[in-house]
């Protein structure tokens, strides 16, 4: 009686034209979805959706200036008060008004009419722009301009640096007209145009960051092509025959079409920042195909019938293949537990892609092997007649490695593993959450963007903000909550509490500050008039004063267009975790002191870079162990079922978890914190890394019988056969992923590539050393069973016999 998997294999081969047609039609169906495939970074989707900080951000997306680019003009050899620099600022201000999608009402620099100073006159108040209708060019004009700046406190803090060597130009874009790529290209060209021997021009702001990411993402296709090319070359180098090259390529291509087509039909955009993982899947598919094909050669050399050989290979390889891919799928899908929309979309895309590896990597590959002409050099390919060159060296090394796992050396190895493991676990548990970078973690520290952020932070309050939002309750139409005394006075009190806290911010700003300035000006200019009359009438009067003759957009950094919601902005010197923790703790204390809930508004903490960074850290903190725990549980159940033993599950999980701890310990020793990257890599590392163990354990079970139950010979034989395949698989992964580290200008991708490579390498080493060691130490009974789902054992001599005998053999 044929087992179920062999019956599937037999049916498939007997109906191979029908099955091939089904594959062709399915592939065509998925290919139809390719036209809808969209590679797109949706930045808000990178944030955890259920985090309270992110909810504040989504409810008030305008606070924290997400649509504003900031250009800083820095005079290298003096201050900005010279004709050349001021003329440059004037011209950049005019030029940025030509940027595609810019909001002409929201351009602010010392050259715009919005940067004003005021003087009390006998008739009232005379409010004038800091700069006249041209950039100051004579010494007298420059001196006059400087005197005007002295009368404009806001300009001195937010537009001109304390040392007067730098000035900012801010431009806000209209979201529905903003094409990040186009806008970035334009604004970045201004940076290049206006930088010279005396001036540096720096560009920062969220649209600039997005622009950089898009710019670098376009490089991604090149890297993709390079790595794919390298994979194909290594394949050609290893296989050296048409079947061996065509089969993995076609199989992987079909899986890719299904993977992309599926999300195309779902119209779910693909996150380009995570494209390393699909490449891992391609590499995974390649290596799987290589092992499948090698097994096919082995069988073919016995049975000499390619259809029969394909059928047997399919039957033999089905269970271990499915189990290996099953763990990949679990690892990828469990990432979706982290409530980050980009991760969910990614899990959907890559998880299903991994699922598609089952039909393509088990059935399609068998069909291809049955259809394609058999290679003539099969005997050479399977090493009959002895190994040569590299293969001999590899086998020798693996034999030495195997030696570590049994007999007397096993004790020493075990002691080393226990000690190293204990150290790794201890160190890993010390790791901190969060991996702060001054600027963006998506880009390298030395990138132009992060350099600009550092420079701007150095000269101005900077970009590390925490926004505490005052949210109107919407009690009535036209109810301008930001014009009410309770709101504004609470803002002032909150600012005062935070400014006097143990770790005060560099600067604070709220609508109340503008109102006080308005109050001063319209009361005659004396600073003693700055305090607001604590009544609705007094506060509203000040609000009318500053809004007179202005667009509401001019204050969009502190209040919304309708003046119902506002924010208190706090600027911090950096975004290191200690600063973030202190900032949030102080803010929480202050908010509690002024009370969260008021009659017409409530206070929400908060948004801005500080809060959003913390939101990401919260996800890592909350979900890291949950994901790893669940992954262990599911894999334990799956593997225990396949090997019909819980011990097998534990034996497989110990090395991958140890690998995980080693990676985290290394990161901790290198002062790198846990972040979203490491969360993903950990999940994929366990899911994909366990494949090595599965291959090896299956082989051990097979060899155990062939080697007369001698553990030493069993382990040596397993390592010198499957161990070689594992080495090849690891190499393929290495080739597929490592180039991203060197080629990608996006640090996020590069980091993920490096972490994945390291995880895979450590997993490989531990699979080759620790797994055999565990088998030797525990000597589990399941190894001796012949009814394992994943058993690769087959008596090939039976296939030279007649069909009935064959059935008995299976």
């Amino acid at each position: 009686m044929l087992s179920f998997r062999y019956r599937i294999a037999s049916w498939t081969m007997h109906h191979r034209r029908v099955v091939a047609a089904v594959f062709a039609l399915t592939t065509l169906g998925f290919a139809g979805g390719l036209r809808n495939v969209e590679l797109k970074t949706i930045f808000s989707d990178l944030l955890p959706k259920d985090d309270p900080f992110v909810q504040v951000f989504k409810d008030h997306p305008n606070f924290g200036n997400p649509l504003t680019v900031t250009l800083m003009v820095k005079r290298k050899d003096g201050d900005i008060y010279n004709a050349e620099t001021l003329s440059k600022v004037w011209q950049i201000t005019r030029d940025i008004d030509l940027a595609p999608g810019v909001d002409h009402d929201q351009i602010l620099s010392i050259a715009t009419e919005k940067a004003r100073y005021a003087e009390a006159t006998p008739f009232g108040v005379d409010v004038k722009p800091l700069m006249e209708d041209h950039a100051p060019s004579t010494l007298e004009e420059i001196a006059d301009f400087r005197a005007r700046v002295d009368k404009s406190p806001n300009a001195r803090v937010f537009l001109i640096s304390g040392d007067a060597t730098a000035t900012l130009i801010n431009a806000t874009f209209i979201e529905q007209h903003l094409d990040y790529g186009e806008a970035f290209k334009y604004v970045h060209a201004l940076v290049q145009k206006y930088s010279d021997a005396h001036h540096d021009v720096y560009l920062a702001g969220q649209p600039a960051l997005t622009g950089w990411v898009y710019e670098y993402e376009s490089q991604m296709f090149t890297i993709f092509a390079v790595t794919l090319g390298a994979l194909v070359l290594s394949l050609a180098f290893y296989m050296r025959n048409v079947v061996g090259i065509v089969t993995p390529i076609v199989t992987s291509l079909v899986a890719a079409i299904w993977g992309f087509g599926f999300v195309g039909w779902l119209k779910s955009p693909i996150e380009p920042l995570l494209m390393v993982v699909p490449l891992l899947l391609v590499a995974r598919s390649f290596s799987h195909c290589v092992q499948f094909t090698e097994r096919y050669y082995e069988i073919y050399s016995h049975v000499k019938d390619r259809v029969k050989a394909a059928e047997i290979t399919m039957g033999v390889m089905m269970a271990p293949s499915v189990l290996g891919i099953f763990t990949d799928i679990v690892g990828i899908f469990l990432i979706a537990i982290a409530p980050i929309p980009a991760m969910e979309r990614f899990a959907l895309f890559c998880g299903f892609w991994a699922i598609w590896l089952i039909p393509t990597g088990v059935i399609l590959i068998s069909l291809l092997l049955a259809f394609l002409p058999a290679p003539r050099n099969v005997d050479k390919l399977i090493g009959r007649g002895g190994d040569s060159g590299v293969h001999r060296i590899i086998k020798a090394v693996l034999r030495s490695v195997a030696r570590l796992s049994y007999g007397k050396p096993a004790r020493i190895t075990a002691a080393v593993v226990v000690l190293a493991g204990a150290f790794a676990v201890y160190s890993a548990l010390q790791i901190k959450i969060g991996n702060p970078v001054e600027g963006s973690n998506l880009l390298w520290d030395k990138s132009e963007f992060n350099t600009a952020v550092r420079q701007i932070n150095r000269h101005f309050p900077g970009v590390n903000t925490l926004e505490i939002v005052f949210e109107g309750k919407g009690s009535g139409d036209g109810d301008r909550v930001m014009h009410q005394a309770d709101t504004v006075l609470t803002m002032q009190k909150l600012q005062s509490l935070i400014e006097h806290s143990p770790a005060p911010p560099r600067a604070t700003l709220s609508f109340a500050d503008y109102l006080m300035e308005g109050n001063r000006l319209f009361s005659g200019g004396d600073p003693r008039w700055m305090p607001l009359d604590p009544t609705d009438t007094g506060v509203n009067a000040a609000a009318q004063a500053i809004m007179l003759g202005s667009s509401a957009k001019a204050f969009s950094n502190v209040v919304d267009f309708e003046q119902v919601n506002g924010t208190v902005s706090l600027w911090f010197k950096d975004n290191k975790q200690d600063t973030v923790d202190a900032a949030l703790a102080n803010a929480r204390r202050a908010v509690e002191q002024v009370q969260i809930d008021h009659k017409n508004f409530r206070i929400r903490l908060g948004t801005g870079t500080i809060a959003l960074q913390q939101a990401m850290n919260n996800v890592v903190h909350e979900y890291h162990w949950v994901i790893i725990g669940l992954l262990n549980l599911v894999i334990l159940l799956g593997c225990s079922f396949a090997y019909r033993s819980f011990v097998a599950g534990f034996i497989l999980l110990i090395p991958v978890n140890l690998a995980n701890f080693i990676i985290q310990a290394s990161m901790h020793l290198m002062h790198i914190g846990l972040d979203i990257n490491s969360l993903m890599v950990a999940a994929i590392g366990v899911g994909v890394g366990i494949d090595y163990g599965i291959y090896l354990l299956s082989r051990i079970c097979e060899e155990y019988h062939g080697q007369d139950r001698d553990w030493g010979r069993t382990l040596t034989a397993s390592l010198t056969t499957t161990g070689k395949a594992i080495l090849f698989t690891a190499t393929i992964m290495f080739i597929g992923i490592l180039p991203w580290y060197f080629l990608s200008a996006l640090k996020f991708m590069a980091d993920m590539g490096l972490l994945l490579v390291l995880t895979m390498l450590i997993n490989m080493v531990l699979a080759l050393v620790v797994l055999p060691l565990l088998v030797f130490l525990f000597k589990p009974s399941f190894v001796g069973r012949k009814d394992l789902l994943v058993g690769e054992g087959v008596d090939l001599s039976a296939f030279t016999a007649s069909e009935p005998e064959l059935a008995d053999a299976l």
């Binding site: 002409h104 007094g538 007179l548």
Partner: protein, 458 residues
Amino acid sequence: MRIKKYDFNYGRRALMEKAAKGVFATGVLTPLWPLIARGDNLAKAYPDELVSIEAYTKGKVKPGDAITADNVDVVKDLLDPIAYQQVKTMGRRIIIVPPTTDITKMFNHDFLEATLKNKGKSKFDATGNVVYEDGGPWRGGTPFPDPKDGKEALFNITLSWGRHDYSLYAIRDWDIQPSGDEAYHYDFVWAELNTTARADGQVFNGMKDMLRLQSVWFTSPQDTAGTSFLSQWYYDQRKFPELYGYLPAFKRVRQFPTNQRFEPLVPGITFFLSDAWSSGDPLLTWGNFKTIGRQPMLGAISQNWKGSLPNWERPRHGGGKGKTFLDTYMELIPECIVVEAEPVGYPRAPVSKKRVWIDVRNNMYVSSITYDRRGEVWKSFETGSGQFVDGNAVFKDTSGHPAWSWTHVLVHDIQSNRMSILAHVREVKGGYQTTFNMDGDVVNKFFTVQAMQRLGAA
């Protein structure tokens, strides 16, 4: 019955030829102004397809029909690009009405009389300003009934915005967000007093160096009530007007930079001073005037005054919440001169040019568009006008004739998709009513800094 003497495209071809050859006499079949002088039917100056929307669209649209997203492409060439987008994508609906053929319904009485009386007596002085033939200030009416170029066409508007020597408009404003919700709602009063270029031919109070006094004061909502602005325009169109703002809470007058004309007066409004009457700035602070064509156009030039409705307020429709557009009635205007100008006197202007469509029969603009410095369409300033007669409801001007004035303005910033609706109404909060009768000492009542302070205190 009109005899169809000409082929279908004759009218449009003739307008294009006129524009191409620089022929500026208005009318196609016969010059327009002799007809006007005789009080003849204006339609005689144009072939059928420029007078009848039915003929123009070959029967696809006729008076009484509504232009909606379904049929707007038929009349796409007759709308400014923003109005087309409003109908095509935002649910705007425009009702088509029969054409106006009586010139007296396109002017207020005194202004038409002055135009006819002073025809041919205008000239440019050495400074580029328009003066009467004796070199003194212009004496009323349009100085260039047959404008030869864009500059003359715009002078026709600039010298007397509202065409009454004195006007006080009660205005209700709604400022609509991209979502269709109302963000702001104001009641305010806009008053204009021409000191020169008056239809009565006089110089008011001896102020011959001034063109007009103009003020705006807000009466609602409560937090804005009393906020006011005063603008004093010089006759010399090279000079910027003086601009003052007044805040009642502080009892302080704020002087604005004179060239700050591309900002709203109060938050929420998309309307800049520069936009007013499509000619909100002194004319010679703009330059590079060009006539870029002549064309028929759909315009809201009659039947938009609904005196029979409470407070003259028309229903609204369209946009996200059904409140973005006033119900509007448009008719086919046979000939508009299309003029462009650039803000050469404003080094900081966010605008690169404006394009204005002017009905050649009364030389009043129908719509204008401003372009940003990238040359992209930015804002429209669409104005409805007409005689204030609605069935039995009639509103008269100082001469005792039915008044003619503007009825509404739609200021649409298409880039940020914010709309301001300004409706000319009977009365606004504070009790101010629309009037063209100069009752008492209006200068000291509305047009001085002290007057602003009094208005704020009230």
